[in-house]
């Protein structure tokens, strides 16, 4: 047994090394993919495959909801199809129960990765538990959000990120993906970030329902051996990293920077704190989240070196080689349309335009975005989710550009998964170029559909 020095809270901290032998779990794992494999899958399947491949993903939990259901169905079918020692799919009675269950598995053994997939009101139903998980230090929890409009009146089962963005403050690391390869690669990398002792924060990869959950593409699946070595190596490398803060998770650096689990530790989790101490817990939570910016870079470098594909970076910059005059900032699958149209936009409008696809939604990469936008003369921000004002993304972009006179035009389009058409992108780019020429935004916000401005609000 190794014990940390006397802690703030007895009996926080003692870890009984060897009481849980994760090597036995790893040895029991039956690889699903022995070699690099190309296959056509949809987004939900791409997000599910890593959970079959990780030996650490011993227990998977779920409750069905459109359009996330196939994630659970794929795992259930695969686990049921053959001998799956050390692998179990658990069906609960509600999303709330799923989130509670994740807390139990993740806290019982912090070396496991435990996850689920949900959507829209399913994520909302988890809220009570999700917000606790976000502050728990359980970085081994992953909730895949298959973005869907929320909530009802009217019900719309197609994808927009209003669920993801309503949960910005839940404490999770939120990442937007588009396309099956990006979904798969992102899921592969996130536990290495969330479980890093400097971060210890759960993760929430996301992709738009229907547009990406149900769209098939060619996916390169890496062999299980490489997938597991990548995560194991990342966690081993992080063992020496000191936690960012001393120390409201009682990690205190040194031998066990990650607190013990309930099974292998003499420990308490989820205490009740007075308000004075609460400040410290919340400061530590913010600091752990801020550490994502550094750790994500390290993990991306490692991913690129091992697999030869782009690692997870906070932003995708397209058309930035020649210092664009205007930038269109967006997220999700419709960024692909904008990238495809970039040449046409430049040609028809006679303006150097660039596209920025946001990958890291929370914590928002303000510094990286500010640097990318340093020379542009106008920014168009594309919001796909309902917001009371100029849009979630717009507020973040404006915050990143604080103090600059660069005009920012706010657009809403693609709500409820609506098509963001060629004509819409051209209209958005034209309006942004006009703001650049004018030196100020024309309206407070605009809603655009099929190239037409169907509503908006004038500047005050």
């Amino acid at each position: 047994m190794q014990s940390t020095a006397r802690r703030l809270v007895p009996p926080y901290g003692a870890t009984y090394d060897g009481s849980v032998d994760l090597g036995a779990l790893r040895a029991a794992h039956r690889p699903r993919y022995l070699e690099r494999t190309r296959k056509a899958v949809d987004g939900n399947t791409a997000a599910a495959i890593p959970f079959l491949q990780w030996w650490r993903a011993a227990i998977l939990a779920g409750f069905p909801i459109t359009p996330a259901t196939k994630w659970l169905e794929h795992l259930a079918a695969e686990v049921a199809a053959g001998p799956s020692p050390g692998k179990r799919v658990k069906l609960l009675e509600s999303e709330h129960a799923v989130a509670d269950y994740l807390a139990g598995v993740a806290s019982a053994c912090r070396g496991l990765v435990v996850g689920t997939a949900t959507s829209s009101v399913g994520l909302d139903h988890m809220t009570e538990s999700i917000r606790s998980l976000g502050a728990s230090g359980l970085g081994n929890v992953m909730v895949v959000d298959v973005c869907r409009a929320t909530a009802n009146y009217p019900l719309c089962i197609e994808g927009d990120p209003s669920d993801l963005l309503a949960h910005r403050d839940d404490g999770f690391i939120q990442v937007a993906c588009r396309g099956v390869q990006q979904i798969y690669d992102t899921v592969l990398q996130l536990p290495a970030i969330g479980m890093d002792p400097r971060v210890l924060t759960p993760t929430m990869p996301s992709y738009y329902g229907i547009k990406d959950s149900h769209r098939s593409g060619v996916l390169v699946v890496e062999p299980d051996r490489e997938v597991n070595d990548f995560l194991d190596d990342a966690l081993r490398a992080a063992e020496g990293a000191s936690p960012v803060v001393e120390d409201f998770l009682a990690t205190e650096g040194a031998a066990h920077p990650t607190p013990p689990g309930l099974l292998d530790g003499d420990t308490a989790l989820g205490s009740c704190a007075t308000s004075d101490w609460f400040q410290g817990f919340k400061l530590a939570q913010k600091q752990r989240l801020a550490a994502v910016h550094q750790v994500m870079g390290e993990v991306a470098d490692s991913f690129e070196a091992r697999f030869g594909r782009p690692g997870l970076r906070p932003l995708e910059l397209i058309g930035f080689a020649d210092a664009p005059e205007i930038a269109l900032v967006c997220m999700g699958p419709d960024a692909g349309t904008a990238i495809h149209l970039l040449g046409r936009i430049r040609e028809e409008l006679g303006v150097r335009a660039g596209v920025i696809a946001i990958r890291l939604v929370t914590p928002f990469p303000s510094a990286a975005l500010a640097a990318a936008l340093e020379r542009v003369t106008a920014v168009g921000v594309i919001n796909n989710a309902h917001h009371y004002g100029r849009g979630h993304l717009t507020l973040d972009v404006e915050d990143a550009m604080a103090g600059r006179p660069t005009p920012v035009e706010a657009f809403f389009c693609g709500l409820g998964g609506a098509d963001v058409s060629t004509s819409t992108w051209l209209a958005i780019a034209r309006t942004t170029a006009e703001a650049a020429a004018r030196g100020r935004a024309g309206r407070r916000w605009r809603m655009v559909h099929e190239g037409l401005e169907i509503g908006g609000e004038d500047l005050r």
Partner: protein
């Protein structure tokens, strides 16, 4: 040959997992229960305790004044003596406990956990299990999870200031229902049995030998064990110091919260209550000022306030029906 001690005396010699540092009210029965659980779980197995939000949680997991859980003054040398305790969200305790059991079982199945199967207990208040937490509670039972669910029943939401709870007997004063209401308590024992619990019991730690036996049976149950712990609340019920255990016993003897024990598929039993020879409920009610609008003690004897006879009679009728109902459940 040395005669073996009865279990409840043998437990007194074990290492307690509940100690100093809690801030439960003086006279709170939860502290008595926690000591009993703390000793019963010193059985050579790792212990994991899951707490739903409740008096018991906020009073024993305070940061930084001290967590009242843990065996010994220093961390024990063996994992089998150690305690893992978690508080998650209000109504989640049964589900979180189930997850911990599943994890332990899965690890054991591949040889990653070589110790004895751990003790996995959950602790909920009556709100956490039978009001906001009824879904979680029933579905964990329905799935036959191998966990021991302990439910503290004090007929109030005590932690938040003594609001009405669906476990309350009629006409008890509550901060959200002054003077109480006519509704009878939710059939918590029936619900647990029908949901499929392998072992269901109701017992106050005021009956120490029986309490020890029932906790031991719950910890050895191969499916879900449910133990309801009627728990006099000195702050919410407003009774005199020193009456905690006595009121717990009277709750059983009057038939309002009788001791009950039943294994699935076997006849159950009512204990510490006589079906046809019970003290009247007035003996119980008059000692609690939450019923002061109905009845009070005068010279040590219960006196019903004029005009409130119908309410007191209704409570007595409920107690009579409750005993009959539990006898039927025991016979299932």
């Amino acid at each position: 040959m040395k005669k073996a001690l009865p279990l409840f005396k043998e437990l007194a010699l074990r290492d307690d997992a509940f100690g100093e540092g809690h801030s439960l009210c003086p006279g709170c029965e939860e502290a008595v229960t926690f000591h009993a659980l703390g000793r019963a779980t010193d059985n050579g197995k790792k212990t994991v305790l899951v707490m739903g939000t409740s008096c018991g949680e906020v009073s024993t997991l305070a940061y930084p004044n001290g967590v009242a859980w843990g065996r010994g003054r220093e961390e024990p040398n063996e994992v089998s003596k150690s305690v893992g305790v978690i508080h998650h969200v209000f109504e989640s305790a049964p589900t979180v406990a189930e997850a911990i059991r599943d994890t332990a079982d899965l690890l054991a199945g591949v040889g990653a956990w070589s110790g004895a199967p751990p003790n996995v207990l959950s602790w909920s208040g009556d709100g956490g299990a039978l009001a906001i937490g009824l879904r979680s509670f029933l579905h964990t039972i329905y799935r036959r999870a191998r966990v021991a669910l302990f439910v503290n029943i004090n007929e109030l939401f005590a932690n938040t200031g003594f609001q009405y709870s669906p476990t309350a007997i009629p006409f008890g004063d509550a901060s959200t229902l002054p003077g109480g209401g006519a509704a009878e308590p939710i059939d918590h024992i029936g619900l647990a049995l029908i949901a499929g619990a392998g072992f269901v019991a109701q017992v106050s730690p005021g009956f120490a030998p029986l309490f020890a036996d029932i906790v031991d049976q719950a910890l050895h149950c191969e499916t879900t064990a449910v133990v309801f712990v009627p728990s006099p609340c000195i702050a919410g019920w407003k009774f005199e110091e020193g009456m905690t255990a006595e009121l717990g016993r009277l709750a059983s003897k009057t038939g309002l919260f009788p001791c009950f024990r039943k294994r699935a598929g076997e006849p159950g039993e009512l204990l510490h209550v006589q079906a046809d020879k019970r003290p009247p409920v007035t003996e119980y009610l008059a000692r609690q000022r939450r019923f002061d609008h109905l009845i009070r003690l005068e010279d040590g004897r219960p006196v019903v306030r004029p005009g409130r006879e119908p309410e007191v009679a209704a409570i007595q009728a409920y107690a009579d029906r409750n005993v009959a109902r539990l006898l039927r459940l025991a016979a299932l």
